[in-house]
Symmetry: C2
Subunit: 94 residues, 2 copies
DNA sequence: CACCTATTTAGAAATCTATCTAAATAGTAT
DNA sequence: ATACTATTTAGATAGATTTCTAAATAGGTG
């Protein structure tokens, strides 16, 4: 939802790994969870954090929920870093 | 020190604001602290987190400690995000 | 309908984080 | 040496985060 949330979301290694997994295309919650050594409930929690940060979106189909990467927010993140570096391509933020 | 630490360091708004302040050039711990409504000890804690993440470096002079931005790590961060977007300019990480 | 599968929600415990106050360090200057 | 200034370290605490187990939802299927 906010800039703040995006940075928070990216601060956890599990969540970054989820994003990396999604680079390969949409995946169901279960498929994502099978990549980790933790309960589905925990992975579901991480997915909710990523969703709140708008880093992923979901699409329900049958009784599966598929998740996909949302690039828009990643670009905003890069703009912030770019601005920090001094590339005054775009304006300040936060 | 590690990639992990950098993301963690960036996840706090106070620390991001410190980095933004340092965009304008090096500043002493005291000058940085005067920009916040919190004790010097707390700001010192945040500086230590940024330092551990290699996002800033320090330089002692007289009995002041000056802090400056370290761009190298910011670039690594951008590479990670860039890679997530699919720009396979450089290799994977973590 | 009764059941099975996929996923989330709720509640609790353990760990981590941000903040404060008080004390320690260290360099300057008198 | 004593005192002053700048900053950090230590110890404590309130609040946030991650993880688990158990239960709730919700959509298919026999």
């Amino acid at each position: 939802m906010a800039f703040e949330d995006t940075f928070k979301a990216l601060s956890d290694p599990v969540r970054r790994r989820i994003l990396t997994l999604l680079k390969g295309g949409m995946m169901s919650a279960g498929d994502i969870a099978s990549n980790f050594d933790m309960t589905g409930a925990t992975v579901s929690y991480h997915l909710s954090v990523l969703k709140k940060a708008d880093l992923i979106y979901e699409k329900k189909e049958k009784n599966f929920i598929y998740y996909g990467l949302n690039m828009t927010v990643v670009e905003e993140m890069m703009l912030w870093l770019s601005d920090l570096k001094g590339d005054s391509t775009d304006d300040k933020q936060e």
